[in-house]
């Protein structure tokens, strides 16, 4: 029993997209499912040359926020979307009816249709793969050359992520919606 979350030191991201590749490889994401499970956003710099705001040109890696109050879980008519024992938002493909309500309700555009199961799928923090094998890191974290991502148990005060969140300022995306995301962007 843990409460998994992820901290992203996003200003270190160099947009190499190794995380996207590792995720696809680990979780068997189909070819062509670009920016579906996880993605790196590229923000163009604000302003007009030569007065460009270089700091605004950051890359923004993102994925499912594993909300504690997930809108996708609330709207699911068959409880196909559920919180597992580690607080990870998961989809039971046997129960998913593909009504796509969760895709519309998710504020983070984090869900997609997996063409193999013809059900909705999403990031699972590698619960079916790496965590199931007893590993303690996700594929995206493990491969990142600049150590953008830190994955761990938010309930463990000694975990790396807990210490990071205690010592660094951070923000969450669309937190005003009350979704209580468990992805934290370090500033």
């Amino acid at each position: 029993m843990a409460r998994y979350g992820m901290a992203l030191d996003y200003k270190n991201c160099i947009n190499c997209k190794a995380c996207e590749v590792a995720c696809k490889e680990e979780n068997g994401v189909l070819l062509g499912a670009d920016k579906h499970r996880i993605w790196v956003g590229a923000n163009n710099p604000d302003g007009v040359w030569p007065n460009l705001d270089i700091a605004s040109a950051a890359f923004m890696p993102s994925q499912c926020q594993h909300c504690e109050e997930a809108p996708c879980e609330e709207v699911c008519p068959t409880h196909a979307t559920y919180y597992d024992e580690n607080g990870v938002v998961r989809v039971d493909s046997d129960k998913c009816i593909l009504c796509s309500y969760c895709m519309n309700a998710c504020p983070y555009d984090a869900r997609y249709v997996d063409d193999r199961t013809v059900t909705v799928d999403k990031c699972t923090f590698c619960s079916d793969t790496r965590l199931a094998r007893g590993e303690t890191t996700t594929a995206c974290q493990n491969t990142c050359p600049t150590k953008v991502r830190t994955f761990g148990d938010l309930d463990d005060p000694e975990s790396e992520i807990s210490i990071l969140l205690k010592t660094r300022d951070h923000f969450s995306l669309k937190a005003h919606l009350g979704t209580k995301p468990k992805l934290f962007y370090l500033t």
């Binding site: 163009n44 409880h79 998913c96 009816i97 593909l98 309500y101 519309n104 013809v118 995306l173």
Partner: protein, 409 residues
Amino acid sequence: MAEATVKKEGIVAQVKEFITTIPVNKIGIKDIFNYPKTPVNNLIALLIVLFLAMFAIGVGNYLIHGHHAYGVTRQHPWGLLIAVYIFFVVSSTGLCIVGSLGDVFGFKDYEMISKRAIFGSIVTIMAGFAVIAFEIGHPITMLIYNVLTPGLRSAIWWMGTLYGLYLTFMIIEFVFLLKHDMKSAKIFGLAGLLIGLAAHSNLGGVFGFLNTRLISNGVFYPTYFILTAFITGIYLAFIMMGFRYKLNFPENAKKMLVNLAKIQGLLLAILMFFETWKMLTGVYGGMPGRADVVEHILTTPPFWVEVIAGMLIPFIIIISSKGNNIKGLFWGSFIGMVGIFFMRYDLVHDTQLKPLQMMKITEYQLPPKWVEYFPSASEIMISLGGLGLCLLLYYVGTKLFNLDADEAH
């Protein structure tokens, strides 16, 4: 033991007797093709056959390619079929309201349409279910897990479950109407109406609960759905009565339709008032994600079709004759239904118009301003097929049942 068996047999015999005494005309396939061969009737018959053929092609394409046969995308997962489903269930709820005026609320003037409207509510919701069955990816799984693991916080669960119950009550009410058991029809009619209204507002809730879609979020849709259902029901009442009497309305039908036209005038005025305020509050303050969406909607042709065809033209017909131009409103109701279709399409499309924009852009590429969607041929064919199915079921119903008010009324 023997006593229980006798009792059981008694109940079975009673049910059997109840079913066998439902007044149904005995018809064969030949009777289905036996209709006055006027050009209009021939055209409608041809369209029904054409639409049903399209339905088969569309469904076939869907069964082969799945959702790839549709124009829906990850950013726009709900498309035309959801809009058409809403169109049919709104029609059903509306006809249920119109039908209830006579047999539930006891307004004598409206009793003549009760049976027809209740039958109409059954065929429209069946057409809706036929369409949605090919939009929901796994309808059989839905039937199983809706029961085994119900998502009680989901508006879709409530909407689907209540609509299933509603259809059951509507069928029972219709049977009692056929048997001229007005007391039982009233009880089941009231239950069906209340469940139908709950189901329908839950359908509005499906959109109203979307916190992240500012244009739809809030109380507007759950209440507006009931209002527009009543409006749709009256349009359909005019169309059904117009066909029934070939526009030569008897006095009692005239009286009822004039009254309905006056109610429709009031409802349309309220709808335009609501819609105006929705747009005004949407734009006011320039809130990103809402004001920009409203401004965009105001520049799109489907919105103006919704307003002009669905509201303004019928409203002008009613106002200019103080509700007495019922032949005009028969034609106006066709225009109104086109507007109502666009109303449903707009509601689905506008909800998904604003990209959620999780910065999924690549370098040197501007983010898309709006999510684009256009229905595929398969979606259009299945939608028209739903209309064909609805028309066919209604036509067969007019042959099988006496949908006019009984003389004893």
